[in-house]
């Protein structure tokens, strides 16, 4: 008996697979959709080709002065020539290796924290958090171990932006946690103090805080004592940011079920041990993405130090664009600064999303 031989399957109709079908369902499913698609294509056509023309095709890439920018498009020569200033500000050129070294130390030092099975991560992290700032300050500021002193007024560019943002978040974190605990406290006096503090800083713009720290802080201090401009700005940033961190941490504290508090109390733990050993480890883990988001906001906000005359990345660009030798280069400068800020912020927001997905397990009830 002959075995029945099946014919091969017919291919699916063209209308349901392939590029055409995808376009049919995603772009041209109805007349309204078609109209929207055409409108979107028009928008893209309006924006993208001129942008590429300006930024890449017609752009000037090589040269040393403004006169070398002969073509129509962007003059990236300006950014190339001023790159050092954008990154390091007025930090002496021959000492810039110290800044680079600081950054590399941060990257290398923090790397083990991202390795999943690194032993004694908590201790290592704590040690890093304590030792690194001292090391970084020594390297950046100098004055000891035979390193030349570089005054903070010479710090600038992206380096200053990173310094302010990092110090801001590291300083604000412990203060913010204390404030959050205070706000959730059952002691009315502590609660009132914390709520007032938090709501005050959250209600005013950072710019007024910076103004305050630059003109009022000297009045608050005893005579003869004074801080330099950078430190004053940092104090303002830390106070301001701690209020936002406090609100983020409070969200985490509220998300911990009551049973955890009761269980900690039933174990005979006092307030600080219950918080430190049971509640905070869980709450802080929950709010890591929130803290990263706060850090992104802070990173963007550091550009405001322009108002009190510090030369961060944005102010360096603004200064360079005002240079008579490079008149009319504002667009290139700002586009470059925007790109740098964008890369940092976008990278961090992706990281926070990744964390959110990673930490999401096991907390669904």
């Amino acid at each position: 008996m002959n075995a029945h031989v099946f014919k091969p399957d017919m291919p699916p109709p063209v209308k349901t697979v392939g590029v055409l079908a995808w376009m049919r369902t995603n772009l041209f499913s109805s007349w309204l959709n078609t109209l929207l698609t055409l409108f979107a294509i028009y928008l893209v056509w309006l924006i993208v080709p001129p942008l590429i023309q300006w930024a890449l095709i017609d752009a000037n890439w090589v040269g040393t002065t403004r006169a070398d920018c002969t073509k129509e498009g962007a003059c990236w020569v300006f950014v190339q020539q001023r790159f050092g200033q954008f990154m390091y500000g007025y930090y002496p050129a021959e000492l810039r290796w110290r800044v680079d070294l600081t950054v590399w130390l941060a990257v290398l030092g923090a790397a083990p924290l991202f390795i999943k099975r690194f032993p004694r991560k908590a201790f290592y992290g704590l040690g890093f958090l304590v030792l690194y700032p001292i090391l970084a300050y020594t390297l950046l500021h100098g004055g000891v171990l035979g390193l030349d002193t570089v005054a903070t007024s010479q710090w600038g560019g992206l380096m200053l932006t990173l310094v302010i943002a990092t110090v801001g978040i590291v300083g604000a974190l412990p203060l913010g946690i204390l404030l959050a605990l205070g706000r959730r406290s059952r002691m009315p006096a502590v609660k009132v103090v914390c709520v007032t503090f938090i709501e005050f800083w959250r209600g005013v713009p950072l710019i007024t805080v910076l103004f305050m720290s630059s003109v009022m802080l000297p009045l608050f201090l005893p005579e003869g004592m004074s801080f330099d401009k950078l430190l004053r700005a940092m104090i303002g940033v830390i106070l301001f940011q701690s209020a936002y961190i406090a609100e983020v941490v409070r969200g985490g504290l509220q998300a911990i079920p009551k049973g955890q508090y009761e269980a900690a109390a039933a174990m005979g733990l006092g307030y600080w041990r219950a918080m430190g050993l049971v509640i905070l480890p869980q709450a802080l883990k929950l709010v890591i993405p929130g803290i990263v988001n706060t850090f992104i906001a802070l990173f963007k906000d550091t550009s405001l130090v322009i108002i009190i005359g510090l030369f961060d990345l944005l102010n360096s660009v603004k200064q360079a664009a005002a240079d008579p030798a490079w008149l009319g280069m504002a667009t290139e400068g700002y586009v470059f600064a925007a790109l740098v800020f964008w890369i940092f912020c976008f990278g961090m927001s992706r990281y926070s999303m990744h964390l959110e997905r990673k930490l999401d397990t096991g907390h669904k009830r």
């Binding site: 002691m187 103090v193 950072l206 009045l219 963007k300």
Partner: protein, 392 residues
């Protein structure tokens, strides 16, 4: 109290209530002490520098010009008037910014949910781009790289001989009151009253009989016909004055200075990116079951959206939207970077430099922002309570 059983009489540090009292007293002592310390230092410092404190300086004459003032102002006016001008300019930017950012944000947020691939991706690119660039940078970009590089008034971009865009800002026709103004206002009030009455009656009839009424179209007709009649009878409410190029600048009409344009544009674009995300997550938070339930009740797409999806989405959208409005109000202070005359640059900047009254000026500025923050959040809390889910 159960923990008093067997507890030793008298005060002991082992009693949590005693500890709580002690801790609170310490906190208060610390806060008051710190406050007194700062106050004392400030007093000595002020004395040594010869600065007299107090708010007397507000009555003194300012003596500088201001680029944009919504109320009449001359250089000899007082600092108090400068303060009012700064406040009004801040409110103006906030008001325009909130309206424009809400509109743009809602459009982009809905576009991010569009099944249309192109629209969806465009909206995503918009959000990811503008959300990750500092607002101050965007303001500086629009101001220095766009508006200041435009041609002067003579080479201005001319739209229909009515609007002129140049490096002096946007010149546009200005309205001034004409004969028909007050009749027009009266007609407008009458029309609105008529609409309110009509909606009440229509709702009552709908509740009683279930017969719907074309509220929207009738309302629109009322709004057009009654003021329209007033225009026909009494003449136009306003006369338009078109800007004319005379010499090196425009004369007549209204002008929006480039600082205002750059600031509003940047803040709108920046805030809209955040609002779009809020709208998107709000709409996505309404489960698909709600749509299906509405459809199975026989509601068509429009009513489903209006009566089922949006009311539920708004509950999620409103609280974060409020904080975005607050952020916009606070971000308007970034105008100090380009010198738009609002609270911070005018009052905390120029007035502070001229008078040297640091404490008073900063205190006034901060309290203005605190007042704005608190009033917006109170308003939104009230609204939030009104639309909150009433659970059994």
């Amino acid at each position: 109290m159960q923990n008093q059983i067997g507890a030793p009489k008298g005060l002991s540090l082992n009693d949590p209530r005693v500890r709580a009292w002690l801790f609170q007293i310490l906190t208060i002592v610390f806060v008051v002490g710190l406050g007194w310390y700062l106050f004392h230092n400030t007093q000595t410092n002020l004395q040594h520098r010869g600065i007299t404190s107090g708010f007397d300086f507000l009555d003194r004459s300012a003596g500088f010009g201001i680029a944009q003032h919504l109320i009449p102002y001359v250089e000899s006016d007082s600092y108090a008037r400068v303060f009012v001008i700064g406040l009004l300019n801040t409110l103006l930017v906030t008001f325009i910014g909130v309206i424009l950012a809400t509109i743009l944000g809602f459009i982009i947020g809905v576009a991010r949910l569009s099944p249309n691939w192109m629209i969806n991706k465009l909206a995503t690119v918009y959000v990811e781009t503008f959300r990750n660039i500092p607002p101050l940078l965007q303001i500086l970009f629009w101001y220095f790289a766009v508006f200041l590089t435009l041609p002067g008034p003579r080479g201005s971009i001319n739209i229909d001989d009515m609007f002129f865009i140049s490096n002096r800002g946007l010149n546009m026709p200005g309205a001034s009151m004409a004969d028909g103004f007050w009749p027009f206002v009266v007609a407008l009030v009458v029309a609105i009253a008529a609409i309110v009455v009509m909606v009440r009656l229509a709702n009552k009839r709908f509740d009683e009989t279930g017969v719907p009424f074309h509220k929207f179209w009738v309302g629109l007709a009322l709004l057009i016909v009654i003021p329209g009649l007033s225009v026909l009878l009494f003449g136009s409410p306003v006369t338009w004055e078109v800007p004319q190029l005379k010499g090196f600048n425009f004369v007549g009409g209204w002008v929006l200075i480039p600082e205002l344009l750059a600031l509003t544009l940047a803040l709108t674009i920046y805030t809209a990116a955040f609002i779009a995300e809020i709208v998107r997550s709000g709409i996505r938070s309404v489960s698909h079951g709600q749509t299906e339930a509405a459809r199975s009740l026989g509601l068509r797409e429009g009513p489903t959206l209006r009566k089922v999806i949006i009311p539920q989405a708004l509950r999620v959208i409103i609280p974060p939207l409020t904080s975005q409005y607050l952020n916009l109000a606070k971000n308007s202070s970034l105008a100090a970077g380009i010198g738009y005359p609002e609270m911070v640059s005018l009052f905390a900047g120029t007035v502070l430099n001229q008078t040297g009254q640091a404490i008073e000026v900063i205190a006034i500025t901060m309290s203005v922002y605190l007042a704005i923050s608190i009033s917006i959040s109170l308003l939104m809390n009230w609204y939030n309570k009104r639309i909150a889910l009433i659970e059994r």
